[in-house]
């Protein structure tokens, strides 16, 4: 069994669906940071069979909205003095600002710099559908 040291202060992104860890690692730009990070893949899990885990030392500020879009199964553990002081479950975000673009080529948010593409969750049936604040077009976001 692979051993990874516990972290003193930081976060553990746990219960990532197997195979999605690398995508989250990339989306959080963890390649670029200078503090210790580790991506664990295919870790045995009693709940899911296998899962991915990301451990980040010295940082507790991450974009929960983006994590919710990629994998709503994730649990976030905040660590201080090597102990979990807070456990949070991410959710499919009800509102998303600036994380993806409207699929409607005629939408103002695709051309005007001032407009931050903004969406509201309207449906959830295997795909997540968001309605654009500006043109009301539905944009699907696959999990």
């Amino acid at each position: 069994m692979l051993k990874v040291e516990s972290i003193h202060y930081g976060i553990v992104i746990d219960h990532i669906t197997q195979g999605k860890g690398k995508r989250i690692f990339d989306k959080l730009n963890l390649e670029e940071v200078d503090y210790p990070v580790v991506l664990l893949r295919n870790v045995p899990s009693s709940k899911y069979g296998k899962k991915d885990i990301i451990k980040i030392e010295n940082c507790i500020d991450i974009d929960m909205t983006m994590l919710g879009l990629i994998d709503p199964n994730i649990t976030i553990n905040i660590i201080e003095n090597e102990k979990i002081i807070k456990k949070m479950k991410v959710e499919i975000p009800k509102e998303v600002h600036g994380l993806f673009r409207c699929k409607n080529p005629r939408c103002i948010s695709n051309t005007e710099l001032y407009s931050n593409p903004s969406f509201k969750l309207v449906r959830f049936n295997g795909t997540v559908e968001y309605i654009c604040e500006y043109c009301e077009e539905l944009t699907s976001y696959s999990l």
């Binding site: 005629r106 939408c107 103002i108 001032y114 309207v122 449906r123 309605i131 500006y134 077009e137």
Partner: protein
């Protein structure tokens, strides 16, 4: 209830009671236009048309002039600073200090919404791409209310370009908020009503929605027939436009099967989708509809500017 300072970007921005207040004032204006000839004295309308328009622009400008106000603006984006790359946000922040109210038509969907976020004066959406056209809806509802006496319990057929037809999107969304209405959607498969518009309809109040490509099979059971033009300017592909442009043409022959009191409406401009021979039919109200556009826009601007109490 007050509409002072509000924006009208989407028909959903107003409650049905607020719509009623606009119609009631429009009816007063129709009855006695002279009483309203000075109420906007000292007020300025900014008429910002980034896309060609005849009826909407001129009816807004006529409405403000008929109330004693003044108008400034442009009717071609190429003569504004947009051609130099200025953003809508910057344009509207500046124009907010030049005028008291603004109407914006723009080819990009959501542009008036964006403008409203940066504006300190009321913004009226004069049509944004294939999205919404709320003041045409006010015009349409006033026409239906005048000729039918009610906005509920009616069968309304929308025919033609239901995909890009912003007048259709605004009107069906609004009519679905009134109870017991039935909608018949007549269009080629490629120009069907978009999913996001269907999603936005109030299905609790609507009795039925029928989609068909066959006009003749449904024309005998319609109270309001709302014809639209196949809009060349919304197509990315010219060949698709040519293939679909003559999909539906309403003529005397087809009207033989229609109800004797069915209203024939059209937001105009018309190309050939309603034959000229239909103009003589008593059921054709599209020119009256265009005339109502001035009065309803007078009422709207008077209420947004808060000048009506002085009338």
């Amino acid at each position: 209830m007050s509409l002072v300072g509000k924006h009208l970007i989407d028909p959903g921005d107003f409650t049905l009671t607020e719509f009623d207040s606009v119609f009631q004032l429009a009816e007063k204006i129709i009855e006695n236009k002279e009483d309203f000839s000075e109420i906007c004295k000292g007020k300025i309308l900014a008429s910002l048309f980034y896309e060609p328009s005849t009826r909407t622009r001129l009816s807004f400008e006529s409405a403000m002039l008929r109330m004693g106000g003044k108008v400034l603006g442009f009717s071609d984006a190429n003569v504004s600073s947009t051609s130099k790359g200025e953003s809508i946000a910057d344009t509207i922040r500046v124009i907010s200090s030049y005028a008291d109210i603004a109407v914006i038509r723009h080819p990009k969907e959501g542009a008036p919404k964006l403008a409203s976020k940066y504006s300190s004066i009321p913004i009226i959406n004069g049509g944004d791409g294939g999205h919404q056209h709320p003041t045409q809806t006010l015009t349409d509802l006033l026409t239906i209310r005048t000729f039918k006496g009610s906005l509920q319990g009616i069968s309304v057929a929308f025919c033609g370009d239901l995909k890009f037809g912003r007048t259709v999107h605004s009107l069906i969304k609004t009519l679905s908020r009134y109870p017991y209405n039935r909608f018949i959607l007549i269009s080629p498969r490629e120009l069907r009503l978009p999913e996001h518009i269907k999603y936005s309809l109030d299905n609790q109040k609507t009795i039925e929605i029928i989609e068909t490509e066959d006009l003749e099979s449904v024309i005998d059971n319609i109270d309001i027939f709302y014809m639209t033009r196949i809009q060349k300017e919304r197509f990315f592909n010219e060949a698709d436009y040519v293939r679909l442009k003559d999909s539906y043409i309403l003529n005397k022959e087809k009207l033989k099967c229609a109800k004797k009191d069915m209203l024939i409406m059209h937001p105009l401009p018309r190309v050939n989708e309603i034959s000229y021979e239909v103009d003589e039919d008593d059921r054709a109200v599209y020119f009256k509809q265009a005339e109502f556009g001035v009065y309803v826009r007078m009422a709207l601007m008077a209420l947004l500017l808060g000048v009506y109490k002085n009338a």
